[in-house]
Symmetry: C2
């Protein structure tokens, strides 16, 4: 489903990262970073709450807004029952809707927020996501053995919190349109090769977006997938060409590849993942280039794998979904 | 946040239940029931997918609509990473947004669907929820020992799937308004007394709804909470009177109390719970009374406890939230 918006702008964005992300190429563009993985909290789960909460405090400060200016808070994360978002929402004390689309959660949040603003049901909507590498490892891969090798296709859940304040007041970057994806099943069962699981969902949504709006790849300066990683990125290039005859040319990149220095940071294997991965790249790097007019229009396609460990143990296929947001420079 | 709608109607609803719900007082009003807990599936998790899928097949049949008529599918459940909804969405093959508000998920879905229809971004939105008693026991209370006694304040997760097809075409029942709640923390840590955890969230949202719309309890024929159970129901009555000076009079009931025959079905202890609990009662009983004009206006306040087992083990407080939908007879 593709929707166009006339009146939805990004007021401001904020990013908070852990040590691995801070060592990556976008290092200096993040608003805040931590040197360890606990940030002074008693548990990893609460540390993730701190990441999201920090990003909210920062975006409100940057936008010179108070908590009470937020009409609606929309958030999601990977913790079971999205508890990082729920406990963050408690601190914010604003109306809260919890969402879940795995690593595609951020674009689900942005399009829902855009919907509330476009329809004049809200003036200011705050959209947040987070993930924490060690929380994810503990939850999805328990027991994670020390020194247990992973295949090179495995991705590395990013540690960070990211928030975006959407508004109806004209700003430098607008949300121009969105496309909601459908779940895709390619009969894949390997949770250590998420790029291959999610690439077909990205292809479906990119094709759907372009065909619904009668556009081509040339109508965008950049098409950016969420967290396919180096292998998934190449799979998408091939798959979208063979399946939908779309040539992504030199217009395509993947946030999972951009977040880390893959040559130096060997621990991240095929690249970054997690709901915050794409948000960190878009909010630190892409929004700035849109604000400055270096980029005119970007298609941000967050990609998510829909599964849980129980489904993997039961040999069910891992599903995927992708939701797209078109961001436009207002310059 | 309270929003009024002019143009959002319920096309049809459908309910599917397990054996415990079928033994309750609403027995004959459910569209379909199963005698066991597996429904021919290989796992309990897949059985829950069947419950939700069945309710979708039924609602589309009753409404004489095809899958392709559904513009958008919104769904949530209690399984980690809402996998019951994701795997159901795969079968439906329509644009899908995953949501999570624990047992308040159904009203989150209905208000989001109403938003898409009111703003003309969609014509037909399908909203589904499910829960499965044994999936929840396995996931939230593992290891569940045979014969292990629970306190009488414990509620019983309902087994069922429920779907509602929202439309912009005039029907017999409309969604008139909604109120989005905020997370509430009353420093409670007992996962076997959810009624007491959630009652304050219900009180907050009922008061917010009434004050935002400048209404009183007398503007409703019925105020219906989601799944507080017998103890939570009395706590809400007292709490909302002392905290907000609201007397619920004879206008109040709770779906967790209505779903089962609490005198005969001792195994359900304080009443039903789970995202599907309130949906089963509203879709089998309340909608019918609204269609026939026996009820003119009902405030449906689904209540959810925001937590997961990890947070309980770490001695974090259990949070709660409630979202309200006002349903009106169009007669």
């Amino acid at each position: 489903m593709t929707t166009k918006y006339k009146n939805v702008y990004i007021n401001d964005v904020a990013t908070v990262v852990g040590p691995y992300e801070y060592k990556g190429p976008l290092s200096k563009r993040f608003d805040k970073h931590y040197e360890d993985m606990y940030f002074g909290c008693d548990s990893l789960e609460c540390a993730e709450v701190k990441l999201m909460s920090d990003s909210i405090d920062l975006v409100l400060k940057k936008a010179k807004q108070e908590k009470s200016d937020v009409d609606l808070f929309i958030a999601g994360d990977l913790q079971n029952q999205i508890t990082a978002s729920c406990y963050t929402a408690l601190k914010l004390e604003r109306p809260f809707l919890g969402i879940y689309s795995a690593c595609a959660t951020n674009t689900e949040g942005l399009l829902l927020g855009a919907n509330f603003i476009e329809s004049k049901m809200a003036d200011n909507v705050l959209v947040s996501v987070s993930s924490h590498n060690m929380v994810s490892e503990k939850q999805f891969r328990n027991p994670t053995e020390y020194g247990g090798p992973k295949p090179g296709t495995a991705t590395f859940t990013a540690t960070g919190g990211a928030s975006c304040l959407l508004t109806n007041k004209k700003g430098k970057v607008k949300i121009e349109s969105s496309t909601i994806g459908i779940p895709i099943d390619m009969a894949q069962t390997d949770p250590l090769h998420m790029g291959s699981v999610m690439a077909p969902a990205a292809a479906y949504t990119i094709n759907k977006h372009l065909s619904d709006l009668d556009r081509t790849v040339d109508d965008y300066d950049l098409i950016l997938t969420g967290d396919l990683g180096i292998f998934g990125k190449e799979i998408l290039r091939d798959y979208i060409k063979s399946e939908y005859s779309i040539d992504l040319k030199d217009k395509y990149n993947d946030c999972g590849v951009m977040l880390y220095d893959l040559k130096k940071q060997k621990e991240v294997q095929a690249g970054g993942s997690g709901p915050v991965c794409s948000a960190l790249v878009v909010y630190s790097d892409i929004i700035k280039k849109l604000e400055e007019g270096q980029l005119k229009r970007v298609l941000y396609v967050a990609t998510g794998a829909l599964f849980n460990p129980t489904m993997v143990f039961q040999k069910e296929n891992i599903l995927s979904i992708a939701h797209a947001i078109s961001l436009e420079s207002v310059l």
